[in-house]
Symmetry: C2
Subunit: 124 residues, 2 copies
DNA sequence: AACAATAGTATCAATTTTCGTACTACGTAC
DNA sequence: GTACGTAGTACGAAAATTGATACTATTGTT
């Protein structure tokens, strides 16, 4: 099924509640879950704006279909901005939005956790 | 397919490399990806040890099949400890391991990010 | 005897995610 | 004329994830 651009991928939230309101983990799982979203976001957040094939070459194993799908979903969720230059051949640039840039702490925490695990030999 | 207990779910890592070594994002995606793992881990990390049906009742929409599957996978990855008491009816307790407890910063960063998004009206 | 709780297992089905491959139009290089 | 790069589209297939449902043995309660 082809979704129109900018249509949210998120369904009505059914997360259990906490005193601070609905628990965000199911929503966050939908936003950054899947095989490729974390690495795409990490690249755009920490390495800046990239074009389609730069991303494709940076990510081992991803297909162009999947890259397109994931970029569209991330754009729909407001985490990526897509900028088209009216040129030939086509030039399209992808950037992390401000909202995505605010995920830096999460990525740093993940990375630190992994590195600590490497040192302790605890990583799966 | 039924996996034996404690057998890792992780396939050979194919992540692209960084100057600091292989990029951990694909591995982290496999560890905490999927629909239910984040919320299971969050509950066990922040609310302490739970039994099976306590978890089941805490999480809206999860089926017993999925809860069992996800607990097994998390245990296999060393993020959850499962303790069986030889009682009738059965008493099984699930806890976050030390390794999982080290994910608190990641969860706090995620939660803060979401709460900031709620305030700014930016959440999908 | 019936019901409930416990923590699942087993099996099949449904849904979602990911992949594979052929194709597109244009400009440039050879 | 052919090949390449660009950033995809289209469509069907495969794989993975998630769900639905019936069932299990034991104890305790009514």
């Amino acid at each position: 099924m082809t979704k129109s651009r900018a249509q949210t991928t998120q369904k009505k939230q059914q997360a259990s509640s906490t005193p601070q309101g609905p628990c965000p983990m199911p929503s966050i799982a939908r936003l950054i879950g899947g095989k490729w979203k974390l690495i795409i976001l990490q690249i755009l957040i920490f390495n800046g704006t990239k074009r389609f094939n730069e991303l494709r070459r940076s990510i081992d194993g991803i297909t162009q279909t999947m890259l397109t799908n994931q970029l569209r979903a991330l754009e729909a969720d407001g985490l990526i901005a897509r900028r088209i230059y009216p040129e030939v051949p086509p030039r399209v640039e992808y950037s992390a939005t401000a909202r995505a840039m605010d995920l830096q702490d999460m990525f740093l925490a993940m990375h630190k956790w992994w590195v600590d695990g490497e040192k302790g030999g605890d990583n799966p």
